[in-house]
Amino acid sequence: MAAFDFHFTEQAVAKVGRQPHALIPILQQLQDRYGYLPPEALDHLCRITDIRPADVTGVSSFYDMFRHTPAGKHRVRVCRGTACHVSGAERIEDALRLHLHIPAGTDTDAERQFTVEPVACVGCCTLAPVVQIDRTTLGHTTPEKVPDLLRDFLAQGNGGTESTEEATPPGPRDRPTIHVGLGSCCMSKGSDHLFHALQASAAESGARVNIKRVGCVGMCHRTPMIELVAPGGTGRFYAGLKADQAGALLDAHFRPRGLWPRAARGFNRMLDRLLDDAPPPHEQIDRFAMERHEPGVEAFLGKQVHIATESYGRLDPLDLDEYERHDGFAALRRTLAEAKPEETITTIERSGLRGRGGAGFPTGQKWRVVRQQAAAEKYVIANGDEGDPGAFMDRMILESFPFRVVEGLAIAAVAVGAHEGIFYIRHEYPLAVRRIRAAIASLEKRGWLGPRLLGTDYPLKFSVMEGAGAFICGEETALMASLEGHRGMPRLRPPFPAESGLWGRPTLINNVETLAMVPWIIRCGWERFAAIGTEKSKGTKVFALAGHVRRGGLIEIPMGTTIREIVEGMGGGAPDGRRFKAVQIGGPSGGCVPARLADTPVDFESLRGIGAIMGSGGLVVLDDSTCMVDMARYFLQFTQSQSCGKCTFCRVGTRRMLDILDRLCTGGAQRHDLHELERLAHQVGAGSLCGLGKTAPNPVLTTLRYFKDEYEAHLQGRCPAKRCTALIKYQVNERCTGCTLCAQHCPVDAIPMVPYERHHIDTERCTRCDSCRQVCPHGAVEVA
């Protein structure tokens, strides 16, 4: 065997250092370079650094992103987020494995072309079910599309996304501007290609228009979104345009400049009409247009109040000057000008702001405790390890408003007296990481961050740490363990991080959304913030609305808005004539709230009262095709797979709860299992060490509380929603015309092809992939 080349390992170490806390960044570089962690490199790493072998093995086996065996050429990641799960992610994964002939227990095909692996949640919930192949994100997939999807990918190569990060000089402000949403969701639907196509078309035709990169508009169900804005400010949306329609859009709105381009356009149009009968540009694009005052748009946008998402869809995420023009850094300047930092803390306290990460702890109080610590060194951390499946608010805020979050963290740092700040962002959000890094770099370049914050004598240093794939690192003590280069295992609190945190120093950890609200509160006054919301839950909350809902996306609404207003009003209710059955709030720590409680206002106390929690803000709507026992099992599978494994109740307790749910979903449960499930759920909740274990039983307890009848049905071997594959079977009814479509599409040959005769499904062979039911044009395939 050829000698292993240690050069890269040495380079990686040189880049980030040889101290124990450099371990994760070193491993990330090795993983990126080799696609796994070669044992030779790990051995060498121990020799050339101060890192202990126990940490190398312990850490590299803890985080999801690290592999110890080589992967295939391309990585296919099947999102297992909540919205994807209820839209059939498991079927997609089954179809991929079947198509690639990947045997059970392995993840890579024989040719080593593709490695198929589940991923916790990529945060593109409105596009569910989502598959990522390398850097390409594909939404709305079906088992049916799997073969084409892989073939197209191989044919088109690996150019999934185009970079939109390079700085684009802003055009003259008196021109109309086309805003192109360049968040992750929009990009996965091709807004990056559209952006470049529009730029190219505009350059070619010389149209007087600015093509502008902007953050998320929030209407993720209509991506890619662009907005045409006249200098006066009125706008018109276009939703769903493809890159090849860029020319038509410009043609429809702008006259080319100069004689030659105009003549060329006229000639081309004539040719088009002669050759393909193509309609004029206006007709081509009008069906994509969407006015702000349309009922659907109005319902979705009208009730929103934008604080964390202020100027949504209008700001270039990385244009520092523009951010400043929109009052950016005014709040930080005011904080720096205060004689006493306590004033800022008092403002935050009075505003009633509570942590948006889940627990709802009063933010000002947290700041004050850190302020009061005598230590010389303190840290502030922005928690961007948004791991809840079904939640993508933080991703959007980081991608769309990086300067706002940086400003929020800087204000926090000044208020508590810290001179070092860290952004901890999950690696599944590469765009968020890039944008925060770019924002920090441009501030440093301007001299506004570093030794002289905004030109004052206050030194403040910011850095970014990428997570390595562990949901538990959203828990603050686990997050700090991860920053110190350890396995992300939480520890018992007290001591709280505010007293003894990172490296034993007082540390303030705030969620990204919390920080994004801080500049607004300081700029506009605590009174205005406190005037919004309910008595104990002030201000607004950003929610990720996804699942079985007509209009999904990101919304920022006043606290106290009812679930019904959100789901039925803004979201437009369940699609396809289905019935809105429940809403899952708070992800794996939250609960399933039945539709009959939909008039519950969304605030910390009300949600807790009905067994759910606010959580970080994932809101997944479930229609009557959802099995609630399966839902409980799904969340427990998630928490179980994300448990750090430290304490008995969470490590083993959640596993035993899952065993019972597995038995329920496969028809093997007995009555005493149901009692045991409830008893154990309470004990796991009471006995676990950290928040993950303490809240893991919530999805089980709420479904037991509100959907007991479904558990009872499963005890009798029935799944009322016809979801649990072990309890259902597919059959063909008399409506069958013998068209053979089902037989053609069955991936496991469970349907013999008998033209013009009623088909029959072999239940033994059938994998319940649902393909036949989806392709049948006559509704002849039914589930029993």
């Binding site: 044992p39 790990l42 051995d43 121990c46 202990r52 072998p53 126990a54 940490d55 190398v56 093995t57 312990g58 086996s61 803890f62 562990a470 396995r487 520890r491 018992l492 007290p494 179980q640 797979s641 994300q642 448990s643 750090c644 494994g645 430290k646 304490c647 008995t648 109740f649 490590r651 083993v652 307790g653 959640t654 596993r655 035993r656 065993d659 045991e676 154990l680 004990q683 009471a686 006995g687 676990s688 060490l689």
Partner: protein
């Protein structure tokens, strides 16, 4: 530093600032269970069996510091239920038998694997001590027992069960061949007297166990010689007369008084026995039905009426056991009934609550798959079982006994009796099978003469990880993986011995279960 005052279960206790609630509770003599706690490691807070309740929340007492005015609940039903659940969860993922199947199947609970290892090592006097600890009349049982132990022997699934009964007999015979006989330790004399009516298997067994408890024991039998059915129903070729006589002689030497030719109801009355003894045991065998009526002892359909949970009849201080109560087919069962009644009588004489002892706690692994069986087999002698002993009336030679002993798979846990998890399972009356689930595969990493690691028994307390880190082991041990799949292992694919170059003894000593053990401990624990 000034002391802090707090209350635990209503008792006031003083503690120093910085002390844990656990330490404070221990000064009160409260036995809060811990598995991951080791003073020098600091609070690891992994096992969570040391939960207490403070302000309505369950917290690990090892990691919670005392605070002035703290109100702690420890020995309450709710807290105990949580601790028990923690233990039961650990057992649901604990792969291994505490006690070997042979041991659990023996009605007299002979620690067979220990006996076998003593025979294998040639320590025959230790072997007889082990045997006499559990068996009355071992030379008799070694010849006549129907050996249910051998049915459970894991070796049987591979080729043939170990010849356990022959080894038992070998140990007993060795004892009789030795210049002085082994005399098991007996408790100091209690001054209490017990009359046993009937010198059959049940009565003899009861007499042995009661004498060991320090009581004065008199056995009455209507026949001239003690032995009951052993005399009358067993052929000489299966049980030579001198063997029985030798065992009876041994019992007399041990302090049991025999009075022959004395029939209850004819030569002596129950009233007299009860007035002259602190307790009476009726072990009169199957003939009891008509006698019972003349004795005016209440009867049931099967014999003398006695409470199965206490062996007590309705008459004060009168117990009954064995075939006198209901038919007993096997010798070893009859003797185990004798052990039970002896236990009940001792409890009665001590003024304790009388309750038949439960089976000892043991985690049970159940059936092994082929691979697991090989894990055990690879450590044992490949030899075939000794030939049936009909031909060898003399029993096994020392060499043959040692050879047969080397076939034992050592499937019991090396830490049984010295295991914190097992200890608290007994204290908390744990149901090891509360959570039924598919168990992990039994694995054993073994270096000859070195440390044995059985990952399935590991409860991930983290003590070994911490100790190797503190000792700056070059490799040490670490947690590998996440969640339910976390295992302990040596970094960079090293062996357990690679990881334990400096502190193996300390780590093995502090392992709270049998996950880490030495392969060949000098002495059985």
């Amino acid at each position: 530093m000034s002391a802090i005052t707090l209350t635990i279960d209503g008792q006031t206790v003083e503690a120093l600032p910085g002390q844990s609630v656990l330490a404070a509770a221990r000064t009160l003599g409260l036995d809060i269970p811990t598995l991951c706690h080791l003073e020098k490691c600091g609070p690891l807070t992994t096992c969570l069996v040391c939960l207490v309740r403070i302000n309505g929340r369950l917290v690990p007492s090892c990691g919670t510091k005392v605070e002035p005015g703290m109100v702690v609940e420890s020995e309450t039903e709710l807290v105990h239920a949580a601790r028990r659940t923690a233990l039961e969860l650990l057992f649901s993922d604990h792969v291994g038998d505490c006690l070997s199947p042979c041991n659990l199947l023996c009605p007299l609970l002979l620690n067979i694997p220990v006996m076998i290892r003593q025979i294998e090592a040639g320590r025959n006097m230790e072997a007889i001590a082990t045997v006499r600890q559990a068996l009355p009349l071992p030379a008799v049982l070694g010849r006549l027992c129907h050996h249910p132990c051998e049915k459970g022997c894991r070796r049987g699934a591979h080729d043939d069960a170990a010849a356990i009964r022959e080894m038992e007999r070998f140990a007993a015979d060795e004892d009789f061949r030795a210049p002085t006989r082994h005399r098991p330790p007996a408790k100091p004399a209690t001054g209490k007297t017990v009359a046993i009516v009937g010198a059959g298997p049940t009565g003899l067994a009861a007499s042995y166990f009661l004498a060991r408890e320090g009581h004065t024991v008199r056995v009455f039998d209507r026949h001239e010689k003690p032995g009951g059915t052993l005399h009358r129903s067993v052929a000489e070729k299966h049980l030579p007369n001198e063997v029985l006589e030798a065992e009876v002689g041994w019992l007399e030497e041990f302090g049991v008084h025999f009075t022959g030719s004395t029939e209850l109801g004819r030569d002596i009355t129950l009233a007299r026995l009860t007035s002259s003894h602190d307790a009476v045991v009726l072990a009169v065998g199957e003939t009891a039905m008509n006698e019972a009526e003349t004795l005016q002892v209440p009867v049931a359909s099967t014999g003398i009426a006695a409470d199965p949970n206490t062996c007590r009849t309705t008459l004060p201080a009168v117990f009954a056991a064995g075939a006198a109560v209901k038919p007993v087919k096997q010798l070893v069962r009859a003797m185990s009934e004798g052990r039970m009644v002896a236990e009940c009588v001792s409890q009665f004489l001590d003024g304790r609550t009388v309750r038949r002892p439960d089976k000892p706690f043991s985690n049970i692994m159940g059936r092994l798959d082929a691979g697991e069986l090989l894990t055990f087999v690879r450590t044992a002698s490949p030899a075939a079982r000794v030939s049936p002993c009909d031909a060898c009336a003399a029993g096994l030679s020392r060499q043959a006994a040692a050879g047969e002993a080397s076939r034992c798979l050592h499937c019991d846990c090396r830490s049984s009796g010295d295991c914190t998890l097992q200890h608290y399972a007994r204290v908390y009356a744990v149901d090891a099978n509360r959570f039924r689930s598919k168990r992990r595969t039994f694995e054993q990493q073994l270096q000859p003469g070195g440390v044995i690691f059985e990952p399935g028994k590991c409860i991930l307390c983290g003590i070994c990880v911490k100790l190797t880190e503190t000792a700056r082991e070059p490799l040490g041990l670490t947690f590998i993986g996440r969640g339910f799949n976390v295992r302990i292992g040596t970094p960079l694919n090293g062996t357990i011995e690679d990881g334990l170059q400096k502190v193996a003894a300390e780590v093995v000593h502090h392992c709270p279960t049998g996950a880490l053990c030495f392969a060949a401990p000098d002495q059985e624990k």
